[in-house]
Structure formats: structure tokens, C-alpha cells
Subunit: 311 residues, 2 copies
């Protein structure tokens, strides 16, 4: 792999480039609604936001005892099956008690699945820093794994992440509509400059305090769906506009000084630092489906990661 | 899990708390040497840094065609065995060609291992966003996984991460010696305030440009090893001073304004944003072994993450 190839593909847009585009989006007006980001949310129909930027409380559509932060440990596992849910309960019990998990054979009997299946599930949890399997010693849970706030290494609906970290989430769509990709964003999405894209600007709050603004670009043809539902999640919009599902998010994380507009949107003094997370959604076949530029206010919600130390 | 419990455990030290401690450490002087951070490095004996803060080029002690960014996908896999190394070669070839990987049966024959073993290795790679396994469709590599710069979700030697991202790393130990933990750090380490700790301050550069300053605290008794080798890695120091190995790093990521001392150490104008990564090293039994406070200069090296989107 040539170093040049790496350098080319990893540069987020410069601050100046972002500033120009964000101003353009915000000043262009556009439709306003209330929306979830990644997963389906139930809309509080009565208080859809108007152009002045109202606020809507978001309610989850699921009611599941297993939190998403655990469910996200299983790729393909948003629809947690019974044995997985039970395994997660056992993991949690062991983590809280500070004891090893039962043996693979015991777990297999308890869950009603084969021992190789148990082993595969344990490997998934191990890869996410939830436990470690020590040969001939046992399976040890990482009891800190439930106390990490938002896990930056996981991808699920931002409102759910806030709720699980102990905050009451809300969100607004500040702007939505069709535009054209500039050269920098087009390059990041492997399309030509000027390609049409559906663009949304959304703001999330935690306990009423603004914490994140996301600008999403989905390159597509307006003829496919001239009026997509801006309140849909980016995943739903990608499915509608691209006919494809998102497998991975390539994310780049950077601390930078907040721009004037961002400080205004997030309620920050000058100067302030914000965390920028720039994501490209990728299909299973390596097609870039969308670009998301998130600006995170700091000091309100902790952003955690668990990393396993190679032996 | 009570929200209060989460909130308690996830707060990094405040900026003011950090400032005070960092100034104290830097002004206390201490011994100076040249050091690796996490893994063993070969020291260039002739140019060990003096108290004025010289610079030493760090050379890796391994010579392995499989980069650490891939090896880190396997917990316990720093000593990559032959079949894993071969699997990673096959992954890379498929990623570069944009083709699916061979079937599990073919891989098992090729690697000389059982099919369940192959499946387990593929699950590990899948959990790290390196590929996806689609039932009855195939195993698809994520061809972007090698082009992510430093992967913030992986833990290995920082000099190696810089080198793999295409930079020439160097590092200095700015300070090292025994101190006492203040109340905030003691709380983060689950020990009493005033507990003795071995403290190092190190600075890394990429192509001669300072990019990171790390302050590491290892609570221990000075009587166990009154003069530990400050040029050892934090993992080696933990082993010497605590008799234990590190299994996980709980990390918190935050953008914040750089303090005067940090701007000086990293060569930054005022105001500047830095990325703070605060880590607690955890043993397999849940004992907190060290606290590392890293301040990362931004805009030089990209910090990437790959997140799998739950279906």
C-alpha cells in the first residue's frame, strides 16, 4: 500500500471548506421537520418544528431490555435473537458480580445452542472489549464496559446513545433539500463535482442543551425521489435514494476550533473547541453512499472507547 | 445500571485539574531518557536525550510483513501465527482486488486449520470492520480498512501507528519520577489520594513535528522498584511495578483548548484545539493499573475509526 494512496483518502475537508458549505446550507433555508438520525424513531406528531427551528422530543420505537450499546456488539444483531439476549444478560450479571462467565458447555446448554455458536458469540463480545477468554482460566467480563457513556467506536442512533448515557435526547432538522456536491465532498464520495445530493442539517440536544450538529450529504438523482422524507434517518434515505444499505462507517475524528455558526448552533463561547467526526457510509461492495459531518459540543456527554491491548 | 453510577465513572479530569498537574510534573524536572510507549523499541544508543530534551529516532524490533493495524485485530495476536498471517495476506489481496474472500472450506484447506477456526478468525476480522460475511453470498473485504491513518479504536505502540500512517516517528522522555496521586487521578484509579505513582511525560513527533504529549501515572510502591527504567513502555512498567498485564484501555476522547504549556510542547498558536485521550489500563480482573493522559496535536496525522452499522 503506497503512503500516497493513504494520504489521499484520509484527509477530511479543511475547516475553510466546511465553513463555506455550512454557511451555504444554513442560509439557503430549506424544509424543516423533526427527525431521527440513524434508526427509526416515533415522531411526536403535534410538535413538528417550523422554519424557526422548534424542538421535538424523540421517542424510541423499540422496547428492549438489552441496550443498543450491547446489541451493537453484534453486527447484524439489531434484531437480537433470544439466545443472544440471554447471553448478554448473563454477561451483565457476571460483570456486576465480578465473576467469570459460565463455561462454554454450560452456556450452550443454558442458551440452547451449540458450543461453536457460543464460542463465536464470545469472540464477538471479546472483539468489542466486553470480555476476555483466557485458555484454561475462564471467560472474564470487562465490568467497565457498560459505563463508557457514548461509545465512539459504535454506530447506532444518536438519540439512543444519549438516552443510554443518561440524558433526555431531542432533535431538530434545521435544513433539508437538494444541492450539488463541491469538489472536496465529491472526492470523498468518489463522484464528480456537481453531483446532485440530498443534504440535511440536524441538531441534537441532551437535556435541552445542544450537543451535536450533523450535515449529511447523500449523492443521488432528484428524479428518483424528488421529495424524500427529510425526517427519515440517513440509513432510510440511503435506502430510498440509492437502493442500498450501509455496512460500515469510515470515521475521522478531529479536535478543532468552532466556527461562528457552530458556536451559535451549539451555544458556545469564543474560542471553543469542538469534536469533528467526518463519516463516509460504505456499502458491502465498497461503494460510498453518504458523507456525514458531525460537530460535537464537548464537556456535556463523555465519548468513550474500549481498546483491547494485544498480548 | 443506575445513570448516577455511569456519570460518576466517566468524567475525565477537568482542564483546570490537568493544567495544575502537568505544570507540576514539568517543573519538577526528573530524569530524561528515550523511550517507547507501548511495545518494545530498539534504542539508538548513541543519541539518548539529555535533560535539555534531545530527540531519538525509534526503530521497531520486529520485522513483520503484517502491519500492527491488522495484527491488532486479533486480541492475543501480537505474536501472529502462520495461519493468521496467511489469512491477513489473503484478506489484503481480496481487498486490493475488490473481490470476495475464498469460501471457509477453501480457506481452511489453504491455511491448514479447521473450518470452525477459520470462521472464528473471520468473526474477529468482521468485528473490527475488516470484512462482512453475508449468508450464502460470500465474505466481502472492506477495502478501505488499510487506509485509515491511525485507528483510534486500536491500541498499539504509537511510534508504529505513526510509521504505518506514513510518518517517521521519534520520541523523547521529558520527565520521569515518583510522585503522589491527586484526588482526581486517585479516584480514576480507585486508590487513595496521595498514593505513590511513577509518572512519565513523553513527547512524540512525526517527521520532526511534535504531535503528542503523554503523561502516564502508574500507582505502585517505590520500594518495589525504586529506580524503574523510565525508557520502558507503560506496559513494561506496569508489569515491573504492579506484577500485572494490561487487558483493556478504557479511553475517553475530548476536544479542548490547548493550555500554554501544551501549545509550547506541541508548537501550536493561541488559541488551538487539541484532542485529549484519557485512558485507564485495566487488568483481566478489573484492576485499574495506570492512567494515561494524552494530548494530541491535530491536523498532522488523521485519526480514523471503522464502525460497523448494525443491520
Amino acid at each position: 500500500m503506497a503512503a500516497a494512496g493513504r494520504t489521499r483518502s484520509v484527509r477530511p475537508p479543511s475547516t475553510a471548506q466546511r465553513r463555506t458549505a455550512l454557511i451555504g446550507i444554513l442560509s439557503s433555508g430549506g424544509r424543516v421537520g423533526c427527525s431521527g438520525r440513524h434508526a427509526s424513531v416515533a415522531h411526536t406528531g403535534g410538535d413538528a418544528a417550523g422554519p424557526s427551528g422548534g424542538r421535538a422530543t424523540v421517542r424510541p420505537v423499540y422496547n428492549d431490555p438489552v441496550p443498543r450499546s450491547l446489541r451493537a456488539c453484534f453486527e447484524g444483531g439489531c434484531s437480537v435473537n433470544t439466545s443472544r439476549a440471554r447471553l448478554l444478560e448473563l454477561w451483565r450479571a457476571a460483570a456486576e458480580a465480578g465473576t467469570p462467565l459460565p463455561s462454554e458447555a454450560t452456556l450452550a446448554a443454558e442458551l440452547g445452542v451449540s458450543r461453536p455458536t457460543v464460542r463465536e458469540e464470545l469472540i464477538r463480545l471479546e472483539s468489542h472489549g466486553m470480555l476476555t477468554r483466557l485458555p484454561s482460566a475462564g471467560t472474564f467480563p470487562n465490568r467497565f464496559a457498560l459505563d463508557m457513556g457514548l461509545r465512539l467506536d459504535q454506530s447506532y442512533e444518536f438519540s439512543d446513545m444519549l438516552r443510554e448515557a443518561g440524558y433526555e435526547p431531542s432533535m431538530e432538522v434545521l435544513s433539508a433539500g437538494w444541492g450539488e456536491l463541491d469538489a472536496v465532498r465529491a472526492a470523498r464520495l468518489d463522484v464528480r463535482p456537481g453531483t446532485a445530493a440530498f443534504v440535511t442539517v440536524k441538531r441534537w440536544s441532551a437535556n435541552g442543551q445542544p450537543v451535536m450538529v450533523a450535515v449529511d450529504h447523500i449523492p443521488a438523482s432528484p428524479s428518483r425521489s424528488p421529495e424524500p422524507d427529510a425526517s427519515a434517518t440517513v440509513f432510510e434515505l440511503v435506502r430510498e435514494l440509492r437502493g442500498s444499505t450501509v455496512e460500515w462507517e469510515l470515521s475521522f475524528v478531529e479536535a478543532r476550533l468552532a466556527e461562528d455558526e457552530e458556536r451559535e448552533l451549539l451555544g458556545l463561547p469564543d474560542p471553543s473547541s469542538v469534536l469533528q467526526v467526518t463519516m463516509t457510509g460504505i456499502s458491502v461492495l465498497g461503494v460510498k453512499l453518504y458523507l456525514a459531518e458531525e460537530t460535537h459540543r464537548q464537556g456535556v456527554v463523555p465519548y468513550g472507547l474500549i481498546r483491547t491491548v494485544p498480548r
